[in-house]
Symmetry: none
Subunit: 404 residues, 2 copies
């Protein structure tokens, strides 16, 4: 029987000591008997997702975890978001994350236009198909105030600054090229033209008149950020001869998974937030095993609690994962890898460059005396994100020897 | 007095818990008072010879241990075997490992033609000097049924598949190029022609008639494997300004040592198996110290026990090494590094991607509270194979500062 592995990523798992938890980290404070049994029977240690001290983004972290060196394969956030939202990208597309925002007297009043989705589909559609120079604009609504905007055509680079100032009380920013290339120059010029024309079109939109009439804020500017330039890369199957499936809620994680050629499952109830159905994700992961060598299972909520500075809730969610997911995972997979994509200390409310605890359990595993924690009396694993795939492949006996 | 180091590699040392040893690894179970004293007084930890999870071959592992990145300096097994067997290689030679095997009705009946050396020298000689296209074949017997075959000439690559199917009951394989180069195409074509002509010549050989008459299996096909393409590389002396000597039994280890410019000692009684004379190797290593900065001492038997799935014998051999080698090593060298080239878990009977315990003792060494084992309560070394040489050079004070 071919052996099957699962890679469980608890987003933002690593933390620092929290006063709210008597100086413990959420992971240390959490009651997690199943995870404890895995670490007692398996290998434990630390992972620097990119390199020690380097602060990983969610996108670069997952590229590394999937065996794709982000220094070679990271082409800007926008394309992973677009892929995750289900778009078909073409070579040389430049894709952005988009917010419909509320502008008043040229100043951004609300970056999310109230965070609802009323007529948002129609508003995004109203700029869809726009032509700027020789470039075609594709604009689609995704959720609430959010969307994806793609510049389709040639001669564009993603090395440009955002139009979105990431805060209210300011004007939309003038995008600038980050290098001296004609491609970046052109992309920045197009983005600025897009912002300008978008304001013009949306300010006069009947859909905004309806929104205002119905008591909603107008969505009269599309703020773009995170330019990404699409290039097709060799798939996991081509590079490593393996099949992987992705069970995740958030679009970004699905997008990175799709980028590397994973099968991305649509899981009803997987929302990428604290209300996600862990049961639905667990069931999907176990089912996906049949057609995969490795199943990737992503759980987002702990990171969100960290960003909100809520260590108690983070601890409780880790306990919930242990209770509702880990037992059946242990029963259903030959090899289990459990880690985070990066640390997000509750005290910092941001990603940090600290190592993340890592645990590998199951077939062909050693038994060290370590624990799965930010502090470990007997670790044996000291790895980088890029090593995870090789470790899993060697444990499930799908890796060829290098040399003879 | 210049300081002297020894690098002792116990082949296939790392392991997994063994039921036969009450869940301990052979290294954990072994009584090894001298090694324990070294670890109590020195530095301990883990080494991933190539990278975490990556499964090292014996050839790539030793290149890394000698400071030669196998991703840059690995040119295929055959050349290291040929060098280890004492051949002088020329730039652009392609060398193979060879087996004289027994073919019956076009099917391989015995891959080793009975594993004896009766008239084997003559049989290998009978194809020596063969011309195929513009290439000259060199064919020499080494031991038992084994030999080395070299294609001498230009325009050849080693990126071809083996003719040896590595099992009985099959026909010799058609070699295929692994890339689209003309060089690989030519090498595969020549190898196939060599196999064909070899069968023709050997089937009609008087030496095989004698073998059969005397009750031996005929050696009527030469099966080639592990193509390697020779390129001369800068020596240890040129790259690091040091002299190293090699004490080993197996041809491969001697070959990698010769490839990097070590002085390879001929040690009577060093057989590369469980009957090797540890005493002879110890004496040779101590003697080699005079003309070396670092002595490389290779001990093969534990790996062979792992490949045979014999953890008790592996443990006993580790005890034998401790008893017969380590005390005098400690007395005779300023710095001792002890490790394996890779893990070979007895339960898997194959190399694995697991880290190997590593120990560095002596002059300029720290004293951690770790132990030399697959599980370690207080490790301080987390290294790769490529790091070993730098560590040893810095301890014996032969390494220049990088920068000022």
């Amino acid at each position: 029987m071919p052996k099957k592995a699962v890679l469980i990523v608890i987003d933002g798992l690593g933390d620092l000591p929290c006063p709210e938890l008597k100086g413990m980290t959420p992971l240390e404070a959490a009651k997690k008997p199943v995870i404890d049994s895995l670490s007692a029977e398996g290998e434990t240690g630390f992972m620097n997702t990119i390199a020690p001290g380097v602060i990983p983004g969610s996108d670069t972290a997952h590229l590394a975890l999937f065996g794709y060196d982000p220094y070679l394969f990271y082409f800007g956030r926008g394309i992973y978001e677009a892929l995750g939202a289900g778009f078909e990208l073409e070579e040389s597309d430049v894709a952005f994350r988009a917010n419909l925002a509320t502008l008043k007297d040229s100043i951004i009043k609300d970056r999310r236009a109230g965070r609802d989705d009323k007529y948002m589909k129609e508003l995004y559609s109203s700029v869809d198909g726009m032509k700027i120079e020789d470039i075609k604009v594709i604009s689609k609504h995704t959720s609430e105030h959010r969307g994806v905007v793609i510049f389709r055509g040639n001669g564009l680079s993603n090395l440009i600054t955002d139009a979105d100032p990431h805060k209210t009380g300011e004007k939309p920013l003038e995008s600038k090229p980050k290098d001296n290339s004609l491609q970046a120059d052109k992309a920045a010029r197009l983005l600025n033209e897009f912002t300008r024309r978008g304001i013009e079109l949306l300010s006069n939109s009947e859909w905004n008149q309806k929104r205002v009439k119905e008591g909603f804020l107008p969505g009269n500017v599309i703020l773009l950020r995170g330019a990404g330039a699409y290039r097709k890369v060799d798939s996991l199957e081509k590079r490593f001869g393996i099949r992987m499936s992705c069970v995740a809620g958030g679009a970004l994680y699905k997008g990175v998974a799709r980028f590397v050629g994973m099968k991305v499952l649509n899981v009803l109830g997987a929302t990428g937030d604290k209300n996600t159905s862990l049961k639905a994700k667990l069931d999907a992961a176990v089912k996906a095993k049949e057609e995969s060598d490795i199943v990737f299972l992503h759980i987002k909520a702990p990171d969100s609690f960290s960003h909100d500075g809520k260590p108690v809730e983070k601890k409780q969610f880790i306990e919930k994962i242990d209770k509702e997911v880990m037992k059946e995972i242990k029963e259903n997979f030959d090899v289990v890898a459990l880690t985070g994509d990066h640390s997000t200390p509750c005290s910092m409310k941001e990603h940090s460059g600290d190592a993340v605890p890592v645990l590998v359990w199951g077939k062909n595993c050693r038994k060290d005396k370590g624990i799965f924690s930010e502090s470990n009396p007997s670790p044996t694993l000291f790895i980088r994100g890029l090593d995870v795939l090789n470790i899993l492949l060697s444990k499930i006996e799908k890796l060829d020897k290098f040399g003879e």
